[in-house]
Every structure is written in structure tokens, then in C-alpha cells.
């Protein structure tokens, strides 16, 4: 039997392009850009979730979390995009 251990998997849910992101736009326009950080060209906001999961390796931990995100509709595919990455 392969040995298992705990992996952290980070999930970020954000609005797709086209769905708008008033929070990210406001942070960019009224805070960062207004403060003179001209090298920053855009900001996207999103929701962050960290899953700590038991798995045999990073790839299977990531795969498990990705499938949970689909099955439980952690994001709404009509409006969101999602990234699932091992920490």
C-alpha cells in the first residue's frame, strides 16, 4: 500500500472575463492605481479556499479537489473560472 500524507490544495474562484469583477476593478482603480503604482495593469478579485486532503501524492490530491469542485459546484461554470493548485 502506498503511503499517504496531508497535502494542501488551493482553490481560487473568480468571475470569468465578461462576467465583470467590480471588486477587483475598484481595488485597482481607487486604491492601487490611484496610489501611483503604474506598473500594475489590472487586479482580479476572487474567493480563496484551502483544502487539506489525505492523498498519496500531489497529483491525486489536486485531482480529488478538482472533482469535488465540479461535483459540489464550488464554482458556477456559467460565470466563474477556477484554479486548483497544490500549495
Amino acid at each position: 500500500m502506498s503511503r499517504t500524507r496531508l497535502f494542501s490544495v488551493n482553490v481560487v474562484v473568480s468571475n470569468r472575463e465578461g462576467a465583470g469583477d467590480p471588486e477587483g476593478e475598484t481595488i485597482y482603480r481607487d486604491l492601487v492605481s490611484k496610489s501611483g503604482f503604474d506598473d500594475v495593469k489590472s487586479i482580479r478579485s476572487g474567493k480563496f479556499l484551502r483544502f487539506d486532503v489525505v492523498a498519496t501524492n500531489q497529483a491525486s490530491a489536486r485531482k480529488l479537489v478538482a472533482s469535488i469542485c465540479d461535483e459540489l459546484r464550488i464554482y458556477n461554470p456559467a460565470a466563474h473560472s477556477i484554479s486548483v493548485e497544490c500549495a
Binding site: 467590480p22 471588486e23 459546484r73 464550488i74 458556477n76
Partner: protein, 231 residues
């Protein structure tokens, strides 16, 4: 059993317009609304279902996303498949979206603010059980009170028969100024392809008695009467 029309109003942890919906429907002769806890199984014998407004599960993750996985929604899905009218108001609309019973998404208002005000909406179709007692183009006054009501359509876009209510001005003109939340195309309410599942952001139950409204609007009654009595 007294032979009346039985309506289940499903109560989630955080629902707060449930009693208002019951009161609005109790005023209609022959209608027997019941409050049903979302974990209780007994909704399959009902003639109609209302998912009320308020909040659910703290609206964590997204408004309606956790309630959409509750036992009641599995049963609501079966009732909807049978053609039973299912009405989702505000948070109830968000639950129907997150359950996939209605297409698209409800995102945060473009102002990022909770918007609480009276609105006017225009009836876009009378093919649904909820609007069959109205006429196309009719303007209704109902209030809204929500933070996530910016409708975003699915990639396949909304079919014309699925659009039920749009925000408009008092003359029925669909204008940018009459759009309170930045919702796409002024969408305030949509239905499924069959027409028996309706979700809307305005609160018809808060517009059923003239004393509730600065405009003495009882327009919300039309929706409940249409759903429960026909035209």
C-alpha cells in the same frame, strides 16, 4: 385533508421571508401553505413549492450554494420534473440557480452594495403558471432587497420564453436608469424551459397588502393568485 391547494414553503437556516410568504398565500381562499424545514421529507405531496427569501447557511461560498445541496432540493427537483410550480424568491432564486434548476448565475450587484428599494418590473411572458393571470407588458411594483442579484446568463444565452420579468420605469420602458443592480439585460426573473420553475429577485410577498407599500401596491398578489388559482 380539506381539499385545498397545498403549498410547501421551504425554510432553510437563515430564511426570513418564509412567514411573509405563508401569510401572502393564506389570504387566498382555498390555499393551505405550510412551513417545511429543509431537512424534512414531506414535500412530495404538495401542489406547489415556494423557496422564500432571506439568507441560507450564512450565504457562505455563494448565496444559495449550500442550500442547493440540501435534502429538500432533491425533492424539489422531482416535483419540478413532474411539472409542479416551483417559485424561488430572492435567496430562493439564488438557490434554484445554484441547484441548476435555472440557468446562469447571480453575481454581486455592480455597485457592490445591498440594494433595498421599490422597483417596477415588466411582464415579458404569460406562458408560465406564475404570470398567466397577467398581461404581457404589464408593469408591477415590487421591492427588492439583496446583494447578489446581478443576473449573468449562461453561455448558450437565455431563450426568449425563459425571460419573465425585467426591471423597467413606471411607463414600462426598460432603461439603464431603471436597472437597480447592473443585472444583464435588466433581468429580474427567469423560468425554466417548461415554465413551471420561476426565480425572481423582487419580493412579491412584500407587495400583497397595501399597508406594506408606499404606493399601496398589491401587485405581488397577482403572482401568487396566478400560480395558485390560474387566470
Amino acid at each position: 385533508m380539506t381539499g385545498g391547494l397545498r403549498v410547501a414553503v421551504v425554510r432553510f437556516p437563515g430564511s426570513n421571508c418564509d412567514s411573509d410568504a405563508v401569510r401572502a398565500m393564506k389570504a387566498i381562499r382555498g390555499v393551505e401553505p405550510d412551513l417545511v424545514w429543509h431537512e424534512d421529507g414531506a414535500i412530495l405531496g404538495y401542489d406547489a413549492v415556494v423557496l422564500p427569501g432571506g439568507f441560507s447557511f450564512g450565504d457562505y461560498l455563494r448565496a444559495g450554494a449550500i442550500a442547493a445541496r440540501s435534502p429538500a432540493i432533491g425533492r424539489v427537483r422531482r416535483l419540478a420534473d413532474r411539472g409542479v410550480p416551483v417559485l424561488g424568491i430572492c435567496n430562493g432564486f439564488q438557490v434554484l440557480i445554484e441547484a441548476g434548476l435555472l440557468p446562469g448565475a447571480l453575481l454581486r450587484n455592480s455597485t457592490l452594495r445591498f440594494v433595498c428599494r421599490w422597483t417596477t418590473v415588466k411582464v415579458e411572458t404569460t406562458r408560465t403558471p406564475f404570470t398567466r393571470g397577467m398581461f404581457k407588458g404589464q408593469v408591477l411594483r415590487m421591492p427588492i432587497a439583496h446583494n447578489e442579484g446581478r443576473y449573468f446568463p449562461p453561455e448558450s444565452s437565455l431563450k426568449s420564453g425563459e425571460l419573465v420579468f425585467r426591471y423597467c420605469d413606471e411607463m414600462g420602458r426598460v432603461t439603464r436608469a431603471s436597472n437597480p443592480t447592473g443585472t444583464t439585460g435588466n433581468v429580474a426573473g427567469i423560468c425554466n424551459r417548461e415554465g413551471n420553475v420561476l426565480g425572481l429577485m423582487p419580493h412579491p410577498e412584500r407587495a400583497t397588502e397595501s399597508v406594506l407599500s408606499p404606493f399601496s401596491s398589491e401587485d405581488g398578489r397577482l403572482l401568487f393568485e396566478s400560480m395558485l388559482l390560474g387566470d
